[in-house]
């Protein structure tokens, strides 16, 4: 085992290596064809939604099953503003985020005053009602009912510095969507990182598993929790806005808008690693590619042997088994597992900063991934 002092040159070398790897991967993606980029874009959507869920569920322990509704709010905000009011898509992201923030705060307000299960149930009800609400005939003038909106997209792709100009057609759209997703994910990552590393964020984490302590700390904390919930809802709405542009179609039947979307985000977050910054991102990709391929994999080989009798695709069953196994062997998911292993190879010794409360050894992105 190698010991590395925090912020020593060796530590910075590890961080630099991790950063370089990350940048290399990001630069490599646009060289794929549009189908490949499209898959990465889909995975990024789930990753971003899982990140937002992680902020409330992983870090502050508030159970939300309503994130599919916030996702839907983002998607519908973008679709409505672009198609009905002919906005440029970029600005719609802000509207979706603000609406989701307000609704998230309102939803969380009464439920946060008391035990977490009520928040779970209220958000579950919201998630359940949202698709019915947007499909409601009285709102058809706004949401276009069951048929929803299609071909939500930029009329002309903006020309971005550094990464543009983008080629015409599907390839260009995929590339642009990728860079847009990376930008939104990066900003969201920084926001989440800022929240959980802040003083308030750390106190929220500290009281996560101790509701008595949370109650003793008083109203202020409840307000903060409510605000954090709003931020999380806003980030999830960004993922929804991205999804509207990615697929171009927004209907009440869109998979991530249904209740099951919340469960998908949850599964992605847990597979990747709850309460870790990189976990949901890793989990989003894990989930997406597993989900995509499990159906094929289970038609041959050992999975066919085990699940061959199944009348429907065994993907969901496999995910639920995976979740339970993870809870027993690696409650902090893939990233938690990697962190544990990497500590056996390289240990970061935190530097003794006077007055610092943060004793957790930060792990370089490279080791986290």
């Amino acid at each position: 085992m190698i010991k590395v002092n925090e912020n020593s040159p060796a530590h910075w070398a590890i961080r630099g290596l991790g950063g370089a790897l990350l940048i290399a991967v990001i630069l490599w993606v646009p060289t794929m064809d549009f189908a490949g980029i499209g898959q990465v874009n889909d995975a990024l959507l789930i990753a971003l939604a899982a990140m937002s869920l992680n902020l409330v569920l992983g870090y502050t322990g508030q159970i939300s099953i309503g994130h599919s509704a916030f996702f839907g709010i983002g998607a519908y905000a973008t679709a409505i503003l672009v198609k009905k009011y002919e906005w440029s898509p970029g600005w719609t992201f802000f509207v979706g985020a603000i609406v989701a923030f307000v609704i998230g705060t309102i939803v969380a307000l009464p439920a946060l005053r008391i035990k977490g299960i009520y928040l779970a149930l209220v958000t579950l009800a919201i998630a359940f009602m949202f698709p019915k609400f947007v499909g409601w005939e009285k709102l058809e003038w706004l949401t276009k009912g069951q048929s929803g909106y299609d071909s939500v997209r930029y009329k002309d792709l903006p020309d971005w510095p550094l990464v543009g100009p983008f080629p015409k057609g599907q390839q260009g759209r995929a590339e642009f969507q990728f860079w847009l997703s990376i930008l939104v994910v990066a900003i969201s990552y920084l926001v989440i990182r800022g929240v959980v590393r802040s003083r308030v964020g750390r106190s929220l984490i500290a009281v996560r598993d101790n509701e008595t302590a949370a109650a003793v700390m008083g109203v202020h904390l409840a307000q903060t929790k409510t605000l954090v919930f709003g931020v999380s809802a806003a980030i999830c709405a960004l993922a929804g806005s991205l999804s509207a542009l990615r697929s171009g179609t927004v209907t009440p039947e869109s998979p991530n808008i249904q209740v099951v979307g919340s469960v998908v985000f949850l599964v992605a977050m847990i597979i990747g690693g709850s309460a870790t910054l990189w976990g949901p991102i890793v989990g989003g990709f894990f989930y997406f590619y597993l989900e995509r391929n499990l159906g094929d994999w289970s038609e041959s080989g050992p999975l066919e042997f085990i699940f061959g009798w199944s009348k429907t695709s065994p993907a969901t069953m496999i995910f639920s088994i995976l979740l339970i196994v993870l809870m027993f062997v690696a409650p902090f998911g893939v990233v938690g597992l990697l962190k544990r292993w990497s500590r056996k190879v390289v240990q970061i010794v935190p530097s003794p900063v006077v007055g610092s409360v943060d004793t957790k050894a930060p792990v370089a992105p490279a080791t986290a991934r």
Partner: protein, 298 residues
């Protein structure tokens, strides 16, 4: 008047099923402090099992009883293999496990019985003239039966709680599990029994709603679970009586809302009034209508 009575009859029958599922949620929550998200899917599995036993030629009532036995085993196994070991790690792990069980049972049912809806047999006579007329409103035997079954089962549950040693032990464990151990109550066994009973009642509830719907499919229980959890919230999570009454109330409320405002609420959004009621309750009486605030606050 006639219309109102009709709504009340239909609502009570619908609410009866919510009450049964909510009762299961409350029994489990009181004992272990966990919300069983898989409660609805356990009930779904029970409904499918009843259907399967019926297909094998077992008389329907016995089929439902068998399904309840299987449900009991499923619930007890869940407590033993998942909730007990994971509960020692963290409440979060148990939450994830119940969500995983929700997904797993739902997809397992789909895997075994296929995605398409199965026509479901009737528990009660269901011909055109099988109803009683009260003040002009018709209460079909099929729906009346569900209500009666719920009343009987709830009555049995209350006898169990109040009059038996097992009930005393269940209440003692829910109240103070440390002291329960100190007076010699085998708390683990009691918790396992609680989960088993909850799942068994759920299995019956699932079979009844499938019978009323005349079919069962993978999505049958999701909306029922949401309504039932709303009932448990309204009643207060530590009050079985409150859960049952709230279940009935929500049944009547949503039937009434769908009937009186067919344009505005209709079948799709009929859960909306219940949701509004819950938000109001949470704002003004956070422990629920019948819950004790000592247990719920903090």
């Amino acid at each position: 008047m006639e219309r109102l009575l009709q709504i009340i009859f239909n609502g009570l029958s619908q609410g009866s099923v919510y009450s049964l599922i909510a009762l299961g949620l409350v029994v489990v929550y009181r004992g272990t402090g966990h919300l069983n998200f898989a409660q609805g899917e356990m009930a779904l599995t029970g409904a499918y099992l009843t259907w399967q036993f019926d297909q094998w030629g077992i008389p329907l009532l016995i089929a439902a009883l068998l399904a309840m036995v299987c449900g009991f085993a499923l619930g007890a196994a869940t407590e033993f293999f998942l909730v007990r070991p994971l509960g020692k790690k963290s409440p979060f792990a148990v939450f994830v496990a119940t969500i995983a069980l929700f997904l797993g049972l739902n997809s397992l049912d789909g895997a075994i019985w296929g995605g398409e809806a199965k026509p479901y047999p009737n528990f009660f006579p269901n011909d055109d003239d099988d109803f009683i007329r009260i003040l002009g409103a018709e209460w079909r035997y099929e729906r009346l039966g569900v209500f009666v079954v719920m009343l009987v089962l709830t009555g049995l549950f209350f006898l169990l709680f109040k009059k038996t040693k097992l009930g005393l032990a269940m209440r003692a464990v829910a109240s103070n599990s440390e002291s329960a151990k100190l007076v010699g109550i085998p708390t683990n066994l009691v918790l396992m029994t609680s989960w088993g009973l909850a799942a068994a009642v759920g299995a019956l509830g699932g079979s009844l709603i499938a019978s009323v719907n005349t079919n069962v499919n993978q999505l049958t229980m999701i909306v029922v679970f949401i309504a039932a959890s709303a009932a448990a919230t309204l009643g207060g999570f530590d009050s079985p009586g409150g859960a049952v009454l709230s279940g009935l109330f929500i049944g009547v409320l949503e039937t009434g809302a769908a009937d009186y405002f067919p344009d505005w609420i209709g079948q799709d959004l009929k859960i909306l009034p219940a949701f509004v009621v819950i938000m109001a309750v949470l704002l003004f009486r956070p422990a629920g209508l019948w819950g004790s605030s000592r247990v719920e606050r903090v």
